[in-house]
């Protein structure tokens, strides 16, 4: 791709017209500034977004978020909507870590009221209570029947049947922690076996639990609605559906790859394999994907409950209900939504739903401000809380970005800094680090990611979401 192949069509909006390549069905729209765009032009990122625009039934335009980077099939940070009922659904448009997402917990603690020893103890005890997944078992053993209920009912099953959380946790979770249409019989035994012992575990890679303080408020009204104030201690949880989701995606990518010819579908990349949403394969995938999404919400529910128990144990004057879920959002998911009276299946691969105000799915106290969105930065930098805008609905299928976005490979990051050195650097900044391996730490070094400040600014200027608060970490726990 060359810069001249893209037209600037608005502030921080660029477009590849559908005439650019014969197999494109709709334009490819990219939200970025010139610097972010230049990084995207360096690899296959934009070509991958263009490939997505060839999917049968794709509607409107495919969208690249400001943190978009090269993936496989879909780029990470790509959004595509396909017309229902006969447009395709593509498992690769969701990814292997189905419903990877983030949950933000707000505590009544203030950072200034904690001495360094208390802060370190808080981080340490959370690290002890949230398994990374390197051990054999998570905190919950599930019989087959119970696992099926998790898959069918999502996090509300853990709250209502197991007492593992509060009713408010469910209310403040996207889709109330349960995607409809989930059918455990569409999930393979291998997938269930991979995930069975992993509920309540973080996983490795870029998954984390971060202990933070609110260090800046941009939008006082929205921050107040979310119950966020400067100096407040928050905990951000990033994890997904673990091995269960990985296997669901593996199973259905393979199945659909074998059926492409039967549906007369030709693709520029096999990893985009897909089937009409109304076909048996499409319906089965959506039912299995919903199960994996429900598993992921349950996973973050259990991790959040572990954090709540640590906070109330270390600080006995804190009541469980004071450790609140601000919101929980998915960033790898496909959901049927309605735009301009038409039903579409919105694929968000490394992108977050960002509904503007008044959507009835949100809790009533967020309907005036828009849906909370979280953009985790890298270790040692900041994360952002944002709120969805009506313009996001109009411009990007109600979506915004999901993080800062990688700019360096893991290998390159490890060549640049050793884990022990990075650990010392972070600790010198007052950040307590808990990570089982130095190599795993180095792979996620802050310089391996784009500048989150720039990404958040572009998101706001492009009308995809507006900044509400910035969070600074003082504890990082990695799998």
């Amino acid at each position: 791709m060359r810069r001249q192949d893209l037209n600037r069509v608005g502030p921080n909006v660029y477009e590849v017209p559908s005439s650019f390549r014969a197999d494109m069905r709709v334009p490819a729209r990219i939200y970025a500034d010139e610097d972010l765009l230049e990084a995207m032009l360096a690899g296959e990122t934009i070509t991958q977004l263009i490939n997505v625009s060839t999917l049968p039934g794709v509607a409107g335009a495919v969208c690249g978020m400001p943190d978009m980077h090269e993936g496989y099939g879909f780029p990470v940070g790509g959004v595509a909507a396909t017309a229902m009922p006969d447009g395709v659904v593509s498992p690769g448009g969701v990814g292997f870590d189905i419903n990877c997402g983030v949950r933000l917990l707000a505590t009544p603690l203030r950072r200034k009221d904690l001495n360094d020893s208390q802060a370190e103890r808080l981080v340490h005890e959370i690290s002890r209570s949230v398994p990374s997944g390197t051990g054999k078992e998570g905190p919950l053993r599930l019989e087959d029947r119970e696992l099926d209920r998790v898959l069918a009912e999502g996090s509300r099953y853990l709250v209502r049947a197991k007492g593992l959380g509060l009713e408010a946790d469910v209310a403040y979770t996207e889709s109330q922690g349960c995607l409809p249409g989930a059918d455990p019989s569409k999930v393979s035994q291998r997938a269930k076996d991979r995930g069975r012992d992993q509920l309540g575990t973080m996983g490795s890679g870029n998954h984390f639990v971060e202990v933070q303080q609110v260090d800046k408020i941009f939008d006082a009204e929205a921050a107040a609605a979310m119950g966020l104030a400067e100096g407040q201690v928050t905990v951000l949880i990033h994890s997904g559906s673990r091995g269960l989701g990985h296997q669901v995606c593996t199973d259905y990518v393979r199945l659909m790859d074998t059926r492409l010819a039967a549906y007369g579908i030709t693709l520029p990349d096999r990893q985009l394999s897909c089937a009409p949403a109304s076909s048996p394969e499409g319906k089965d995938y959506l039912a299995a994907m919903a199960c994996a999404a429900n598993f992921a919400w349950s996973n973050r529910q259990l991790i959040g409950q572990s954090v709540r128990q640590v906070v109330t144990r270390l600080f006995p004057n804190v009541r469980p209900e004071e450790v609140r879920v601000v919101y929980d959002v998915a960033h790898n998911i496909a959901k049927v939504e309605e735009y301009d009276g038409k039903r579409v299946c919105v694929h968000r691969k490394g992108a977050t739903r960002a509904f503007g105000p008044h959507h009835t799915e949100m809790p009533p106290d967020y309907r005036a401000i828009g849906q909370p969105v979280f953009i985790p930065g890298s270790m040692g930098t900041a994360s952002y809380v944002l709120a969805g805008m009506d313009t996001s609905d109009e411009r990007a299928w109600g979506s915004t970005c999901h993080g800062a976005g990688r700019s360096l490979s893991r290998t390159a990051a490890k060549k640049k800094i050793g884990g022990a050195e990075l650990r010392r650097e972070l600790e010198a900044k007052g950040i307590v680090v808990r990570c089982p391996t130095n190599a795993g730490l180095a792979e996620e070094a802050p310089f391996a990611y784009k500048d989150v400040e720039r990404v958040a600014e572009v998101v706001e200027r492009a009308g995809l979401a507006r900044r509400v608060a910035r969070l600074r970490p003082f504890g990082v726990i990695k799998g």
């Binding site: 496989y72 990470v76 296997q247 593996t250 990349d269 990688r406 490979s409």
Partner: protein, 134 residues
């Protein structure tokens, strides 16, 4: 010559290249690569386990083989580093594998993908390229 595997640069995922004298050795080396990622092992290998796969071509078989080993490893907590009795055709694969217990699960590998998949003769050797989601 011994099979060789090496990592290629990829900003978000893990791109692996394998070079070997025969297609069968590519599959054996691929198993060893996956097993090395699992984490530290201890104890004796378990019993030999039989794997049979069918697919439309050899490169698809390679992805299916890798995903079979990834799933099997994660469920059993075993690093399958030993492979024998490989019978490979363009559309099917049979093999026996066995592995040692993993003491601490470290694998970042979620799945092997079809993206940019290659499997072909290059000079005197066979070359395969696979991208993993990590």
């Amino acid at each position: 010559m011994r099979p060789v595997s090496r990592s290629e640069e990829h900003v978000g995922e893990w791109k692996l290249t394998i070079l070997a004298d025969t297609p069968e050795e590519v599959f054996s080396e691929a198993a060893r690569v996956v097993s090395r990622e699992c984490g530290p092992t201890r104890g004796e290998p378990g019993p030999w386990e039989h794997i049979a796969l069918t697919a439309r071509d050899r490169e698809t078989l390679l992805v299916d083989w890798l995903n079979e080993l990834l799933g099997r490893s994660e469920v059993a907590w075993r690093a399958y580093d030993e492979v024998r009795e490989i019978k490979l055709s363009d559309g099917s694969l049979e093999a026996e594998v066995r592995g040692r217990p993993v003491t601490s699960w470290r694998s970042p590998l979620k799945a092997a993908t079809y993206h940019g998949l290659q499997f072909a003769r290059e000079g005197q050797r066979w070359k395969a390229v696979v991208l993993f989601d990590v």
